[in-house]
Protein backbone atom coordinates (compact mmCIF):
# COMPACT_ATOMS: atom_id res chain seq x y z
CA UNK A 1 0.00 0.00 0.00
CA UNK A 2 1.36 3.44 -0.89
CA UNK A 3 1.82 6.10 1.76
CA UNK A 4 -1.01 8.25 0.47
CA UNK A 5 -3.42 5.31 0.35
CA UNK A 6 -2.51 4.56 3.94
CA UNK A 7 -3.14 8.16 4.92
CA UNK A 8 -6.53 8.08 3.23
CA UNK A 9 -7.43 4.92 5.03
CA UNK A 10 -6.53 6.49 8.32
CA UNK A 11 -8.49 9.67 7.61
CA UNK A 12 -11.59 7.79 6.55
CA UNK A 13 -11.33 5.61 9.64
CA UNK A 14 -11.29 8.62 11.93
CA UNK A 15 -14.09 10.28 9.96
CA UNK A 16 -16.25 7.20 10.34
CA UNK A 17 -15.46 6.30 13.95
CA UNK A 18 -15.22 9.92 15.11
CA UNK A 19 -18.38 10.91 13.27
CA UNK A 20 -20.32 8.06 14.81
CA UNK A 21 -18.93 8.90 18.24
CA UNK A 22 -20.13 12.47 17.77
CA UNK A 23 -23.64 11.28 16.90
CA UNK A 24 -23.59 9.11 20.02
CA UNK A 25 -22.39 11.92 22.18
CA UNK A 26 -24.56 14.65 20.68
CA UNK A 27 -27.64 14.18 22.90
CA UNK A 28 -25.50 14.52 26.03
CA UNK A 29 -23.91 17.66 24.63
CA UNK A 30 -27.35 18.98 23.77
CA UNK A 31 -28.55 18.37 27.31
CA UNK A 32 -25.66 20.41 28.67
CA UNK A 33 -26.07 23.25 26.19
CA UNK A 34 -29.83 23.37 26.71
CA UNK A 35 -29.26 23.78 30.43
CA UNK A 36 -27.58 27.10 29.61
CA UNK A 37 -30.12 28.38 27.10
CA UNK A 38 -32.85 30.87 28.00
CA UNK A 39 -36.19 29.07 28.43
CA UNK A 40 -37.78 30.47 25.26
CA UNK A 41 -34.80 29.46 23.17
CA UNK A 42 -34.41 25.78 24.05
CA UNK A 43 -36.99 24.55 21.60
CA UNK A 44 -37.04 27.34 19.03
CA UNK A 45 -33.45 26.69 18.02
CA UNK A 46 -33.07 23.13 19.28
CA UNK A 47 -30.52 22.21 16.60
CA UNK A 48 -28.14 24.96 17.67
CA UNK A 49 -25.41 24.22 20.16
CA UNK A 50 -24.71 27.91 20.75
CA UNK A 51 -27.02 29.78 23.13
CA UNK A 52 -27.59 33.48 22.36
CA UNK A 53 -26.50 34.16 25.93
CA UNK A 54 -25.52 31.96 28.83
CA UNK A 55 -28.47 31.58 31.16
CA UNK A 56 -26.86 30.50 34.43
CA UNK A 57 -30.10 31.39 36.17
CA UNK A 58 -31.47 27.99 35.09
CA UNK A 59 -29.24 26.39 37.69
CA UNK A 60 -30.62 28.67 40.40
CA UNK A 61 -34.28 28.20 39.45
CA UNK A 62 -33.80 24.45 39.07
CA UNK A 63 -31.92 24.11 42.35
CA UNK A 64 -34.73 25.92 44.19
CA UNK A 65 -36.76 22.74 43.72
CA UNK A 66 -40.41 22.27 44.57
CA UNK A 67 -42.57 23.45 47.45
CA UNK A 68 -39.77 24.16 49.87
CA UNK A 69 -37.60 21.16 49.04
CA UNK A 70 -34.51 22.28 47.19
CA UNK A 71 -31.91 20.16 45.48
CA UNK A 72 -29.83 20.50 48.66
CA UNK A 73 -32.17 17.93 50.12
CA UNK A 74 -32.38 15.75 47.02
CA UNK A 75 -28.63 15.54 46.51
CA UNK A 76 -28.09 14.89 50.20
CA UNK A 77 -30.62 12.02 50.05
CA UNK A 78 -29.00 10.57 46.93
CA UNK A 79 -25.56 10.62 48.51
CA UNK A 80 -26.81 9.03 51.74
CA UNK A 81 -28.53 6.23 49.83
CA UNK A 82 -25.71 5.64 47.36
CA UNK A 83 -22.87 5.73 49.89
CA UNK A 84 -24.50 3.56 52.54
CA UNK A 85 -25.69 1.08 49.91
CA UNK A 86 -22.25 0.89 48.39
CA UNK A 87 -20.54 0.25 51.72
CA UNK A 88 -23.05 -2.47 52.54
CA UNK A 89 -22.95 -4.10 49.12
CA UNK A 90 -19.17 -4.26 48.85
CA UNK A 91 -18.45 -5.35 52.41
CA UNK A 92 -21.04 -8.12 52.45
CA UNK A 93 -20.21 -9.30 48.92
CA UNK A 94 -16.50 -9.58 49.77
CA UNK A 95 -17.25 -11.78 52.82
CA UNK A 96 -19.50 -14.07 50.82
CA UNK A 97 -17.11 -14.26 47.87
CA UNK A 98 -14.31 -15.37 50.19
CA UNK A 99 -16.54 -17.98 51.83
CA UNK A 100 -17.58 -19.34 48.42
CA UNK A 101 -14.08 -19.54 46.96
CA UNK A 102 -11.73 -20.41 49.79
CA UNK A 103 -13.71 -22.42 52.33
CA UNK A 104 -15.16 -25.83 51.63
CA UNK A 105 -18.32 -26.25 53.58
CA UNK A 106 -21.38 -28.42 53.39
CA UNK A 107 -23.89 -27.06 50.86
CA UNK A 108 -21.51 -24.61 49.23
CA UNK A 109 -22.38 -25.70 45.68
CA UNK A 110 -26.08 -25.37 46.47
CA UNK A 111 -25.78 -21.80 47.75
CA UNK A 112 -23.56 -20.88 44.85
CA UNK A 113 -26.26 -22.18 42.52
CA UNK A 114 -28.86 -20.08 44.36
CA UNK A 115 -26.67 -17.04 43.82
CA UNK A 116 -26.31 -17.64 40.10
CA UNK A 117 -30.06 -18.08 39.83
CA UNK A 118 -30.68 -14.86 41.74
CA UNK A 119 -28.51 -13.05 39.23
CA UNK A 120 -30.96 -13.91 36.46
CA UNK A 121 -34.16 -13.50 38.46
CA UNK A 122 -36.47 -10.72 37.23
CA UNK A 123 -36.98 -8.14 39.95
CA UNK A 124 -40.74 -8.17 39.32
CA UNK A 125 -41.12 -11.62 40.89
CA UNK A 126 -39.95 -10.60 44.34
CA UNK A 127 -40.94 -6.94 44.48
CA UNK A 128 -44.56 -7.36 45.63
CA UNK A 129 -43.88 -9.57 48.68
CA UNK A 130 -40.86 -7.41 49.50
CA UNK A 131 -43.08 -4.35 49.43
CA UNK A 132 -45.62 -6.04 51.69
CA UNK A 133 -42.86 -7.21 54.03
CA UNK A 134 -41.30 -3.75 54.32
CA UNK A 135 -44.74 -2.25 54.88
CA UNK A 136 -45.25 -4.67 57.78
CA UNK A 137 -41.84 -3.73 59.17
CA UNK A 138 -43.04 -0.11 59.16
CA UNK A 139 -40.20 0.80 56.81
CA UNK A 140 -42.22 2.74 54.23
CA UNK A 141 -41.22 6.38 53.83
CA UNK A 142 -37.68 5.66 54.93
CA UNK A 143 -34.44 4.72 53.22
CA UNK A 144 -34.39 1.32 54.94
CA UNK A 145 -36.12 -0.75 52.22
CA UNK A 146 -33.58 0.60 49.72
CA UNK A 147 -30.41 0.39 51.82
CA UNK A 148 -30.83 -2.61 54.14
CA UNK A 149 -31.08 -5.33 51.43
CA UNK A 150 -27.73 -4.15 50.07
CA UNK A 151 -26.04 -5.47 53.22
CA UNK A 152 -26.87 -9.06 52.26
CA UNK A 153 -24.49 -9.47 49.35
CA UNK A 154 -25.18 -8.57 45.70
CA UNK A 155 -24.81 -11.61 43.40
CA UNK A 156 -23.09 -9.69 40.59
CA UNK A 157 -20.47 -8.36 42.98
CA UNK A 158 -20.01 -11.69 44.75
CA UNK A 159 -19.37 -13.26 41.36
CA UNK A 160 -16.98 -10.50 40.32
CA UNK A 161 -14.96 -10.72 43.53
CA UNK A 162 -14.95 -14.54 43.36
CA UNK A 163 -13.43 -14.39 39.90
CA UNK A 164 -10.73 -12.15 41.30
CA UNK A 165 -10.00 -14.21 44.42
CA UNK A 166 -9.52 -17.26 42.20
CA UNK A 167 -6.50 -15.54 40.63
CA UNK A 168 -4.81 -15.26 44.05
CA UNK A 169 -2.53 -18.31 44.45
CA UNK A 170 -3.73 -20.72 47.16
CA UNK A 171 -0.10 -21.02 48.30
CA UNK A 172 -0.48 -17.62 49.91
CA UNK A 173 -3.35 -18.93 52.05
CA UNK A 174 -1.27 -21.95 53.01
CA UNK A 175 1.73 -19.82 53.92
CA UNK A 176 -0.43 -17.58 56.08
CA UNK A 177 -1.95 -20.62 57.74
CA UNK A 178 1.46 -21.97 58.61
CA UNK A 179 2.26 -18.56 60.10
CA UNK A 180 -0.72 -19.08 62.37
CA UNK A 181 -3.45 -17.14 60.53
CA UNK A 182 -7.04 -18.30 60.98
CA UNK A 183 -9.53 -18.15 58.10
CA UNK A 184 -10.48 -14.69 59.31
CA UNK A 185 -6.85 -13.65 59.41
CA UNK A 186 -6.30 -14.94 55.87
CA UNK A 187 -9.32 -13.01 54.68
CA UNK A 188 -8.39 -9.70 56.26
CA UNK A 189 -4.61 -9.86 55.81
CA UNK A 190 -4.11 -11.78 52.60
CA UNK A 191 -7.20 -11.84 50.42
CA UNK A 192 -8.71 -8.44 51.10
CA UNK A 193 -5.59 -6.39 50.29
CA UNK A 194 -5.06 -8.39 47.09
CA UNK A 195 -8.62 -7.99 45.83
CA UNK A 196 -8.76 -4.22 46.11
CA UNK A 197 -9.20 -3.74 42.34
CA UNK A 198 -12.30 -5.97 42.34
CA UNK A 199 -13.65 -4.19 45.40
CA UNK A 200 -13.18 -0.82 43.71
CA UNK A 201 -14.98 -2.06 40.61
CA UNK A 202 -17.86 -3.37 42.69
CA UNK A 203 -18.02 -0.08 44.63
CA UNK A 204 -18.18 1.96 41.43
CA UNK A 205 -21.02 -0.07 39.98
CA UNK A 206 -22.88 -0.15 43.25
CA UNK A 207 -22.66 3.62 43.39
CA UNK A 208 -23.93 3.95 39.81
CA UNK A 209 -26.83 1.59 40.26
CA UNK A 210 -28.06 3.13 43.48
CA UNK A 211 -27.49 6.67 42.24
CA UNK A 212 -29.54 5.97 39.10
CA UNK A 213 -32.15 3.82 40.78
CA UNK A 214 -35.63 5.12 40.18
CA UNK A 215 -37.83 2.08 40.72
CA UNK A 216 -37.24 1.52 44.43
CA UNK A 217 -37.39 5.18 45.52
CA UNK A 218 -40.60 5.53 43.48
CA UNK A 219 -42.02 2.59 45.35
CA UNK A 220 -40.90 3.28 48.89
CA UNK A 221 -40.45 7.03 49.27
CA UNK A 222 -43.62 9.06 49.22
CA UNK A 223 -42.55 12.28 50.87
CA UNK A 224 -40.70 14.84 48.72
CA UNK A 225 -38.25 15.57 51.53
CA UNK A 226 -37.01 11.97 51.19
CA UNK A 227 -36.66 12.03 47.40
CA UNK A 228 -33.27 11.33 45.85
CA UNK A 229 -32.31 13.28 42.74
CA UNK A 230 -33.61 10.61 40.35
CA UNK A 231 -37.10 10.87 41.77
CA UNK A 232 -36.96 14.65 42.16
CA UNK A 233 -36.22 15.09 38.46
CA UNK A 234 -39.57 13.50 37.72
CA UNK A 235 -41.25 16.42 39.52
CA UNK A 236 -40.18 18.72 36.69
CA UNK A 237 -42.49 16.73 34.43
CA UNK A 238 -45.46 17.01 36.79
CA UNK A 239 -48.20 19.59 36.55
CA UNK A 240 -47.45 23.20 37.28
CA UNK A 241 -43.67 23.11 37.04
CA UNK A 242 -43.99 21.92 33.47
CA UNK A 243 -42.48 25.03 31.91
CA UNK A 244 -39.19 25.35 33.71
CA UNK A 245 -37.33 23.58 30.90
CA UNK A 246 -34.07 25.32 31.65
CA UNK A 247 -34.17 24.28 35.29
CA UNK A 248 -35.05 20.73 34.33
CA UNK A 249 -32.10 20.46 31.95
CA UNK A 250 -29.82 22.12 34.49
CA UNK A 251 -30.67 19.67 37.27
CA UNK A 252 -30.54 16.71 34.85
CA UNK A 253 -27.02 17.80 33.92
CA UNK A 254 -26.01 18.10 37.57
CA UNK A 255 -27.44 14.67 38.35
CA UNK A 256 -25.03 13.14 35.83
CA UNK A 257 -21.94 14.88 37.18
CA UNK A 258 -21.15 12.45 40.04
CA UNK A 259 -21.39 9.60 37.52
CA UNK A 260 -19.01 11.32 35.11
CA UNK A 261 -16.56 12.21 37.88
CA UNK A 262 -16.42 8.62 39.10
CA UNK A 263 -16.00 7.47 35.51
CA UNK A 264 -13.04 9.69 34.76
CA UNK A 265 -11.27 8.85 38.00
CA UNK A 266 -11.80 5.09 37.83
CA UNK A 267 -12.02 4.47 34.08
CA UNK A 268 -9.52 1.60 34.16
CA UNK A 269 -11.47 -0.35 36.78
CA UNK A 270 -14.72 0.09 34.94
CA UNK A 271 -13.45 -1.11 31.59
CA UNK A 272 -11.76 -4.13 33.18
CA UNK A 273 -14.70 -4.88 35.44
CA UNK A 274 -17.10 -5.07 32.52
CA UNK A 275 -14.71 -7.03 30.37
CA UNK A 276 -14.03 -9.71 32.99
CA UNK A 277 -17.45 -10.23 34.48
CA UNK A 278 -19.99 -8.90 32.07
CA UNK A 279 -21.33 -6.32 34.50
CA UNK A 280 -23.67 -3.97 32.76
CA UNK A 281 -23.02 -0.30 33.09
Amino acid sequence: MTASAKLWRRISYHLLVGGLALVMFYPILWLFVSSLKPNDEIFTTAYSLIPSRLEWRNYATGWAGFAGNSFDTFFKNSFIIAILSTIGAVASSALVAYGFTRIRFFGRAFWFGCMMMTMMLPRDVTIIPQYIMFTNFGWLSSFKPIIVPQFFGIPFFIFLIMQFIRTVPADLDEAAKIDGCSKYGIFFRVILPLTVPALVTAAIFSFYWTWDDFYHPLLYLNKPELYPVSLALKLFLDGESLNNWGGMFAMSTLSLIPVFVVFFIFQKYIVEGIATSGLKG
Binding site: M24, R104, F260, A275
Partner: protein, 299 residues
Amino acid sequence: MKLRHNDHVVGYLFSAPFILGFLLFIAYPMVSSLYYSFTNYNLLSAPTFVGFDNYAKMFADDDKYWNSVRVTLHYVVASVPLRLAFALLVAMLLNKAIAGIGLYRSAYYLPSLIGGSVAVAILWSQVFGDKGLVNSFLGLFGVHTDTSWIGDPRTSLWTLIALSVWQFGSSMLIFLAGLKNIPKDFYEAAGVDGAGAVRRFFRITLPLLSPIILFNLIMQTISAFMTFTPAYIVSRGEGGPLDTTLLYSLYLYKRAFEFYEMGYASAMAWVMLIVVGVLTLILFQTSRFWVHYESKGDR
Protein backbone atom coordinates in the same frame (compact mmCIF):
# COMPACT_ATOMS: atom_id res chain seq x y z
CA MET B 1 -7.63 -29.97 51.33
CA LYS B 2 -9.18 -32.16 54.00
CA LEU B 3 -12.62 -31.22 55.22
CA ARG B 4 -12.50 -30.08 58.79
CA HIS B 5 -15.48 -29.65 61.02
CA ASN B 6 -14.51 -26.07 61.75
CA ASP B 7 -14.60 -25.14 58.05
CA HIS B 8 -18.34 -25.75 57.90
CA VAL B 9 -18.98 -23.24 60.63
CA VAL B 10 -16.57 -20.65 59.25
CA GLY B 11 -17.92 -21.18 55.74
CA TYR B 12 -21.46 -20.49 56.88
CA LEU B 13 -20.35 -17.47 58.86
CA PHE B 14 -18.74 -15.88 55.80
CA SER B 15 -21.67 -16.80 53.55
CA ALA B 16 -24.28 -15.81 56.13
CA PRO B 17 -25.12 -12.41 54.58
CA PHE B 18 -26.02 -13.98 51.26
CA ILE B 19 -27.81 -16.99 52.72
CA LEU B 20 -29.93 -14.87 55.07
CA GLY B 21 -30.63 -12.32 52.35
CA PHE B 22 -31.52 -15.06 49.91
CA LEU B 23 -33.98 -16.68 52.30
CA LEU B 24 -35.53 -13.38 53.39
CA PHE B 25 -35.54 -11.30 50.21
CA ILE B 26 -35.60 -13.92 47.44
CA ALA B 27 -36.83 -17.36 48.49
CA TYR B 28 -39.61 -16.31 50.84
CA PRO B 29 -40.89 -13.58 48.45
CA MET B 30 -40.89 -16.04 45.54
CA VAL B 31 -42.98 -18.54 47.45
CA SER B 32 -45.37 -15.93 48.76
CA SER B 33 -45.80 -14.26 45.37
CA LEU B 34 -46.71 -17.67 43.96
CA TYR B 35 -49.30 -17.95 46.73
CA TYR B 36 -50.61 -14.39 46.17
CA SER B 37 -51.02 -15.17 42.48
CA PHE B 38 -53.87 -17.50 43.45
CA THR B 39 -55.59 -14.90 45.62
CA ASN B 40 -57.32 -11.58 45.53
CA TYR B 41 -55.30 -9.25 47.67
CA ASN B 42 -55.58 -5.48 47.99
CA LEU B 43 -53.35 -5.02 51.07
CA LEU B 44 -56.27 -3.79 53.18
CA SER B 45 -58.00 -7.09 53.82
CA ALA B 46 -56.50 -10.56 54.02
CA PRO B 47 -55.88 -12.41 50.73
CA THR B 48 -58.80 -14.57 49.59
CA PHE B 49 -58.07 -17.72 47.61
CA VAL B 50 -59.48 -17.62 44.09
CA GLY B 51 -57.69 -20.52 42.38
CA PHE B 52 -56.65 -19.84 38.82
CA ASP B 53 -58.96 -16.81 38.42
CA ASN B 54 -56.14 -14.30 38.05
CA TYR B 55 -54.49 -16.37 35.34
CA ALA B 56 -57.79 -16.95 33.57
CA LYS B 57 -58.63 -13.27 33.66
CA MET B 58 -55.19 -12.38 32.40
CA PHE B 59 -55.26 -14.74 29.45
CA ALA B 60 -58.91 -14.45 28.48
CA ASP B 61 -60.24 -11.09 29.59
CA ASP B 62 -57.50 -8.52 29.68
CA ASP B 63 -56.80 -6.86 26.33
CA LYS B 64 -54.39 -4.52 28.02
CA TYR B 65 -52.40 -7.49 29.22
CA TRP B 66 -52.01 -8.96 25.75
CA ASN B 67 -51.17 -5.55 24.44
CA SER B 68 -48.38 -5.20 26.98
CA VAL B 69 -47.09 -8.65 26.03
CA ARG B 70 -47.01 -7.62 22.38
CA VAL B 71 -45.32 -4.31 23.13
CA THR B 72 -42.71 -5.98 25.32
CA LEU B 73 -41.91 -8.71 22.80
CA HIS B 74 -41.62 -6.10 20.08
CA TYR B 75 -39.30 -4.09 22.30
CA VAL B 76 -37.10 -7.06 23.23
CA VAL B 77 -36.92 -8.56 19.75
CA ALA B 78 -36.02 -5.24 18.16
CA SER B 79 -33.71 -3.77 20.78
CA VAL B 80 -31.54 -6.70 21.88
CA PRO B 81 -30.27 -7.87 18.47
CA LEU B 82 -29.79 -4.29 17.25
CA ARG B 83 -27.88 -3.43 20.39
CA LEU B 84 -25.62 -6.47 20.11
CA ALA B 85 -25.05 -5.92 16.38
CA PHE B 86 -23.98 -2.33 17.02
CA ALA B 87 -21.83 -3.41 19.94
CA LEU B 88 -20.01 -5.99 17.82
CA LEU B 89 -19.61 -3.68 14.84
CA VAL B 90 -18.15 -0.85 16.90
CA ALA B 91 -15.98 -3.25 18.92
CA MET B 92 -14.46 -4.50 15.67
CA LEU B 93 -13.84 -0.93 14.53
CA LEU B 94 -12.16 -0.10 17.84
CA ASN B 95 -10.08 -3.27 18.06
CA LYS B 96 -6.94 -1.44 16.98
CA ALA B 97 -3.86 -0.24 18.74
CA ILE B 98 -3.76 3.37 17.58
CA ALA B 99 -3.54 6.70 19.37
CA GLY B 100 -6.82 8.13 20.59
CA ILE B 101 -8.64 4.79 20.69
CA GLY B 102 -9.27 5.19 24.43
CA LEU B 103 -11.10 8.43 23.75
CA TYR B 104 -13.41 6.77 21.24
CA ARG B 105 -14.00 3.90 23.62
CA SER B 106 -15.10 6.33 26.33
CA ALA B 107 -17.35 8.27 23.97
CA TYR B 108 -19.12 5.08 22.93
CA TYR B 109 -19.34 3.77 26.44
CA LEU B 110 -20.63 6.88 28.23
CA PRO B 111 -24.23 6.64 26.95
CA SER B 112 -24.56 3.18 28.43
CA LEU B 113 -23.15 4.41 31.72
CA ILE B 114 -25.83 7.05 32.16
CA GLY B 115 -28.51 5.53 29.96
CA GLY B 116 -30.62 4.08 32.75
CA SER B 117 -30.91 7.38 34.58
CA VAL B 118 -33.96 9.57 34.84
CA ALA B 119 -31.94 12.46 33.42
CA VAL B 120 -31.40 10.60 30.16
CA ALA B 121 -35.02 9.47 29.97
CA ILE B 122 -36.05 13.12 30.36
CA LEU B 123 -33.49 14.12 27.76
CA TRP B 124 -34.89 11.50 25.41
CA SER B 125 -38.44 12.71 25.79
CA GLN B 126 -37.22 16.15 24.74
CA VAL B 127 -34.98 14.96 21.90
CA PHE B 128 -37.96 13.20 20.28
CA GLY B 129 -40.60 15.71 21.41
CA ASP B 130 -42.64 17.84 19.00
CA LYS B 131 -40.13 20.69 19.08
CA GLY B 132 -37.19 18.52 20.03
CA LEU B 133 -33.75 17.99 18.61
CA VAL B 134 -34.79 15.47 15.95
CA ASN B 135 -37.58 17.58 14.48
CA SER B 136 -35.40 20.65 14.69
CA PHE B 137 -32.72 18.89 12.62
CA LEU B 138 -35.28 17.65 10.13
CA GLY B 139 -36.43 21.26 9.80
CA LEU B 140 -32.93 22.26 8.71
CA PHE B 141 -33.29 19.85 5.80
CA GLY B 142 -36.67 21.22 4.84
CA VAL B 143 -38.75 18.49 6.47
CA HIS B 144 -41.11 20.43 8.71
CA THR B 145 -43.13 18.37 11.12
CA ASP B 146 -44.85 19.13 14.37
CA THR B 147 -45.64 15.57 15.36
CA SER B 148 -43.93 14.36 18.46
CA TRP B 149 -42.15 11.04 17.98
CA ILE B 150 -43.12 10.26 21.56
CA GLY B 151 -46.77 11.16 21.04
CA ASP B 152 -47.27 9.28 17.79
CA PRO B 153 -48.37 5.69 18.47
CA ARG B 154 -46.53 4.53 15.35
CA THR B 155 -43.14 5.75 16.54
CA SER B 156 -43.40 5.94 20.34
CA LEU B 157 -42.05 2.45 21.04
CA TRP B 158 -39.24 2.99 18.55
CA THR B 159 -37.99 5.96 20.56
CA LEU B 160 -37.54 3.56 23.51
CA ILE B 161 -35.85 1.01 21.25
CA ALA B 162 -33.51 3.75 20.02
CA LEU B 163 -32.71 4.65 23.61
CA SER B 164 -31.86 1.02 24.34
CA VAL B 165 -29.71 0.61 21.23
CA TRP B 166 -27.90 3.85 22.05
CA GLN B 167 -26.61 2.14 25.19
CA PHE B 168 -24.63 -0.59 23.43
CA GLY B 169 -21.43 0.46 25.22
CA SER B 170 -21.16 -2.17 27.92
CA SER B 171 -21.74 -5.04 25.46
CA MET B 172 -19.17 -3.38 23.23
CA LEU B 173 -16.56 -3.48 26.00
CA ILE B 174 -17.24 -7.18 26.58
CA PHE B 175 -16.86 -7.88 22.85
CA LEU B 176 -13.67 -5.83 22.74
CA ALA B 177 -12.18 -7.95 25.51
CA GLY B 178 -13.22 -11.08 23.58
CA LEU B 179 -11.72 -9.83 20.31
CA LYS B 180 -8.41 -9.15 22.03
CA ASN B 181 -8.27 -12.82 23.05
CA ILE B 182 -8.45 -14.09 19.47
CA PRO B 183 -4.88 -14.97 18.44
CA LYS B 184 -3.60 -12.80 15.59
CA ASP B 185 -2.11 -15.79 13.77
CA PHE B 186 -5.60 -17.21 13.14
CA TYR B 187 -6.28 -14.24 10.90
CA GLU B 188 -2.83 -14.38 9.34
CA ALA B 189 -3.20 -18.05 8.52
CA ALA B 190 -6.63 -17.42 7.03
CA GLY B 191 -5.18 -14.51 5.05
CA VAL B 192 -2.47 -16.78 3.62
CA ASP B 193 -5.19 -19.23 2.61
CA GLY B 194 -6.85 -16.40 0.71
CA ALA B 195 -9.87 -15.84 2.97
CA GLY B 196 -11.38 -12.37 2.55
CA ALA B 197 -12.58 -10.09 5.34
CA VAL B 198 -16.17 -11.39 5.21
CA ARG B 199 -15.06 -15.01 5.31
CA ARG B 200 -12.66 -14.32 8.17
CA PHE B 201 -15.49 -12.67 10.10
CA PHE B 202 -17.86 -15.61 9.69
CA ARG B 203 -15.25 -18.35 10.04
CA ILE B 204 -13.04 -16.94 12.82
CA THR B 205 -14.44 -13.91 14.63
CA LEU B 206 -18.04 -15.04 14.99
CA PRO B 207 -17.38 -18.64 16.13
CA LEU B 208 -14.72 -17.60 18.62
CA LEU B 209 -16.92 -14.87 20.04
CA SER B 210 -20.03 -17.04 20.17
CA PRO B 211 -19.79 -17.90 23.91
CA ILE B 212 -19.62 -14.17 24.67
CA ILE B 213 -22.49 -13.49 22.30
CA LEU B 214 -24.59 -16.11 24.08
CA PHE B 215 -23.82 -14.60 27.47
CA ASN B 216 -24.68 -11.10 26.23
CA LEU B 217 -27.81 -12.29 24.51
CA ILE B 218 -29.16 -13.92 27.68
CA MET B 219 -28.30 -11.11 30.09
CA GLN B 220 -29.54 -8.39 27.72
CA THR B 221 -32.77 -10.25 27.02
CA ILE B 222 -33.53 -10.60 30.72
CA SER B 223 -32.82 -6.96 31.43
CA ALA B 224 -34.82 -5.86 28.38
CA PHE B 225 -37.84 -7.71 29.75
CA MET B 226 -37.51 -5.68 32.96
CA THR B 227 -37.21 -2.24 31.33
CA PHE B 228 -39.15 0.24 33.39
CA THR B 229 -37.65 3.68 33.97
CA PRO B 230 -37.51 5.01 30.39
CA ALA B 231 -41.05 3.85 29.63
CA TYR B 232 -42.31 5.38 32.87
CA ILE B 233 -40.58 8.73 32.37
CA VAL B 234 -41.13 9.13 28.64
CA SER B 235 -44.83 8.31 28.90
CA ARG B 236 -45.24 10.13 32.25
CA GLY B 237 -46.16 6.90 34.00
CA GLU B 238 -49.02 6.08 31.62
CA GLY B 239 -47.50 3.80 28.98
CA GLY B 240 -49.16 5.87 26.26
CA PRO B 241 -49.97 6.90 23.62
CA LEU B 242 -52.66 4.22 23.20
CA ASP B 243 -50.63 1.92 25.48
CA THR B 244 -47.91 1.60 22.86
CA THR B 245 -45.17 1.96 25.48
CA LEU B 246 -46.92 0.00 28.20
CA LEU B 247 -44.08 -2.44 28.79
CA TYR B 248 -44.84 -5.53 30.89
CA SER B 249 -42.95 -4.25 33.90
CA LEU B 250 -44.76 -0.92 33.78
CA TYR B 251 -48.16 -2.57 33.50
CA LEU B 252 -47.32 -4.86 36.40
CA TYR B 253 -46.25 -1.87 38.46
CA LYS B 254 -49.51 -0.05 37.72
CA ARG B 255 -51.62 -3.08 38.60
CA ALA B 256 -49.75 -3.63 41.84
CA PHE B 257 -49.01 -0.19 43.14
CA GLU B 258 -51.64 2.04 41.53
CA PHE B 259 -54.64 -0.30 41.64
CA TYR B 260 -53.39 -2.47 44.52
CA GLU B 261 -54.27 -5.71 42.78
CA MET B 262 -51.42 -7.64 44.38
CA GLY B 263 -52.77 -11.06 43.43
CA TYR B 264 -53.20 -10.19 39.78
CA ALA B 265 -49.79 -8.52 39.59
CA SER B 266 -48.16 -11.54 41.26
CA ALA B 267 -49.71 -13.79 38.64
CA MET B 268 -48.27 -11.48 35.97
CA ALA B 269 -44.87 -11.72 37.63
CA TRP B 270 -44.94 -15.52 37.62
CA VAL B 271 -45.90 -15.68 33.97
CA MET B 272 -42.96 -13.37 33.26
CA LEU B 273 -40.62 -15.55 35.28
CA ILE B 274 -41.73 -18.67 33.43
CA VAL B 275 -41.46 -17.02 30.02
CA VAL B 276 -38.02 -15.60 30.74
CA GLY B 277 -36.89 -18.92 32.21
CA VAL B 278 -38.11 -20.88 29.19
CA LEU B 279 -36.51 -18.41 26.79
CA THR B 280 -33.20 -18.69 28.61
CA LEU B 281 -33.39 -22.47 28.47
CA ILE B 282 -34.16 -22.38 24.76
CA LEU B 283 -31.21 -20.07 24.15
CA PHE B 284 -28.96 -22.43 26.10
CA GLN B 285 -30.30 -25.44 24.18
CA THR B 286 -29.86 -23.87 20.75
CA SER B 287 -26.38 -22.81 21.78
CA ARG B 288 -25.20 -26.34 21.03
CA PHE B 289 -25.69 -25.59 17.37
CA TRP B 290 -24.09 -22.19 17.18
CA VAL B 291 -21.81 -21.68 20.14
CA HIS B 292 -18.28 -22.82 19.65
CA TYR B 293 -16.40 -23.91 22.76
CA GLU B 294 -12.67 -24.27 22.51
CA SER B 295 -11.21 -27.22 24.37
CA LYS B 296 -9.77 -25.48 27.36
CA GLY B 297 -6.75 -27.78 27.84
CA ASP B 298 -5.30 -27.43 31.29
CA ARG B 299 -7.35 -24.40 32.31
